[in-house]
């Protein structure tokens, strides 16, 4: 049984605009899943189906094997936490602490447990010092962390991040990469995130879905996806810079093994250098 599964999911926006077209998507347990696609490819629309914000025009969405109904919607939203692209959409309480406490409070937990959840969520994202601050005094990166903490406090099994790197500085992106990896490694969570920053993907994803004009046009691991530049170009994407460089060197006769992450590339470059020396 998959944590999230969509079958033939089609969604048509008012005005007959097709947002999603027969999407098959599977989120297994303890996976890091990247959904890549250009602007308007349907990534956010797909995510809004995972916790019942949007209802499919046709097809189905199954969470832990069960369709989303009025009866289980609150449980589904506890199970699948969605972090929106713009933190200002999501942070609506006057202080950081109150905002992080919003989800646990809605779960009907008593004050002591809410307090514990808030403490823990703030600690996990490293913003204990921001507890009493007001959101409009925070930087973009800090707000993003508050938004994530607000969802983490509900202790979801699946964390969905819509364009998590949007508006972050390089250090913020680096921290986020570490954070996503730790959620999967330490807490066994499934993390699904969307991005059009393809260079980030090999560092944080085991499984990649490529979306184009509301459809999933490819799925697989880094090697399966990034070895198909034509597919990526047709989806208005690109191959990450490291595999692109290595491909180019290989075409020019350099004996180097393909790599996708920085660590792999460093190792393979050194090996190639030693072989040639």
């Amino acid at each position: 049984m998959h944590l999230i599964e969509t079958r033939d999911l089609t969604y048509i926006y008012p005005g007959n605009v097709r947002g999603l077209d027969r999407v098959h998507f599977i989120a297994p347990r303890n996976a890091r899943i990247a959904v890549i696609g250009s602007n308007g490819a349907g990534k956010s629309t797909l995510f809004k189906h995972f916790n019942g914000i949007f209802q499919p025009t046709s097809g189905s969405v199954l969470v832990r094997g069960e369709p989303i109904t009025r009866e289980n919607i609150r449980e589904v939203r506890r199970f699948v936490g969605v972090v929106f692209q713009n933190p200002d959409d999501q942070i609506f309480s006057p202080t950081v602490e109150q905002d992080v406490a919003f989800g646990p409070t809605n779960l009907g937990l008593d004050e002591e447990i809410v307090q514990h959840r808030v403490d823990e969520a703030l600690r996990v994202v490293g913003i204990e010092h921001l507890r009493d601050r007001v959101p409009h005094h925070l930087s973009g990166g800090e707000k993003k962390r508050v938004a994530i903490a607000g969802v983490i406090a509900m202790e979801p099994q699946v964390l969905v991040l819509d364009e998590p790197t949007a508006g972050l500085d390089p250090q913020g992106v680096h921290d986020l990469v570490g954070f996503i990896n730790s959620l999967s490694r330490t807490y066994g969570m499934t993390v699904i995130f969307s991005t059009h920053d393809v260079s980030l993907v090999p560092e944080v994803a085991d499984l990649i879905y490529v979306m184009d004009r509301g459809r999933i046009v490819a799925e697989g691991d880094c090697q399966e996806i990034f070895s198909r530049p034509d597919l990526l170009f047709s989806a208005r994407l690109d191959v990450p810079v490291l595999p692109k460089l290595i491909s180019s060197l290989r075409e020019q006769g350099v004996d180097i093994t393909m790599a996708y992450t920085f660590t792999e590339a460093e190792r393979n470059f050194l090996a190639a250098y030693r072989r040639s020396a």
């Binding site: 916790n51 969605v82 409070t105 809605n106 007001v134 509900m154």
Partner: protein, 275 residues
């Protein structure tokens, strides 16, 4: 007006004995003074009561280490709302007096009565004292602390959650307004720039306001979706941590309440000859 929002907020982040008081203490004292002032009968008794409360306000304002300019600016902004109603009073008779003595006759059969002037002065004093204490409260208490304080004093959850969101988004829109202004200025547009035609300026401002409305509507939609994602429902409420009132603040509360209650009572007893 929007910039005032940020300057008021800046004042609340200062450090002083009054700023550090628990928000509940300040709310209770402020409302006690307002209730005492409003409850004082419409008679010359109001003058010494208002004078004492004004002195109390002055002491608190000095302790809060706030500039008198802050007070002046804010009272000037609020005064027009009350002044109009108060000014009208000098021309009309009111139920608090039985006989009226005209002191000036105006065209169109209008008269200014001595009793009406007295009534208007009393009304003005009540208005000034009430508004001044609200200014003190809002200048020395962070808006989120005010909300938490009100919640701890028993403001219903429906209000705290809604007010909490309102506070949050007032600032979001404040920043949005700033950005729009900056983007207009970047492209050399000024609402008071006489080089540009009046019609053009009016149209641009109308578009800007319209855009802000549409953006606020869209923001509302997105926020509501985010709330649903985090389990928003009928039982939702703002999380307010329990916090005991420090002993020092309790002492200040007792003192403040004593001033608020005893001032009109003592002057009343004095007026009937019991003191």
């Amino acid at each position: 007006m929007i910039e005032d929002l940020f300057s008021i907020e800046k004042e609340t982040y200062r450090k002083s004995v009054i700023h550090q008081l628990d928000a509940r203490v300040k709310i209770v004292i402020c409302f006690a003074v307002i209730v005492a002032m409003v409850a004082t009968p419409y008679s010359p008794l109001v003058f010494p009561v208002a004078g004492t409360f004004a002195a109390f306000l002055l002491v608190l304002w000095v302790l809060a280490r706030l500039s008198p300019v802050v007070y002046a600016k804010r009272i000037v902004m609020i005064l027009p709302f009350g002044l109009f109603i108060i000014l009208v009073q000098v021309f009309v008779q009111n139920p608090y007096y039985t006989a009226f003595t005209p002191i000036a006759d105006l065209p169109l059969g209008l008269h200014i009565y001595r009793e009406s002037v007295e009534f208007a002065t009393i009304l003005l004093l009540k208005f000034l004292i009430s508004v001044s204490f609200i200014i003190l409260l809002s200048s020395t208490t962070k808006v989120q602390d005010l909300l938490e304080g009100a919640g701890r004093l028993g403001l219903p959850a429906e209000f705290t959650l809604t007010l909490g969101m309102m506070i949050r988004y007032i600032f979001v829109f404040g920043y949005m307004y700033r950005k729009i202004n900056e983007s207009l200025a970047t492209r050399n547009f000024g609402p008071f720039d006489s080089h540009l035609s009046y019609r053009y300026r009016l149209r641009t401002l109308a578009y800007t306001i319209g855009t802000l409305f549409i953006r606020s509507y869209e923001q509302g939609e997105r926020t509501y979706t985010a709330m649903l994602c985090r389990g928003y429902g009928r039982e939702s409420h703002l999380y307010i941590r329990k916090k005991p009132v420090p002993r020092r603040d309790c002492a200040f509360l007792a003192f403040g309440l004593a001033v608020a209650v005893s001032t009109p009572v003592l002057f009343w007893l004095s007026s009937i000859g019991l003191l």
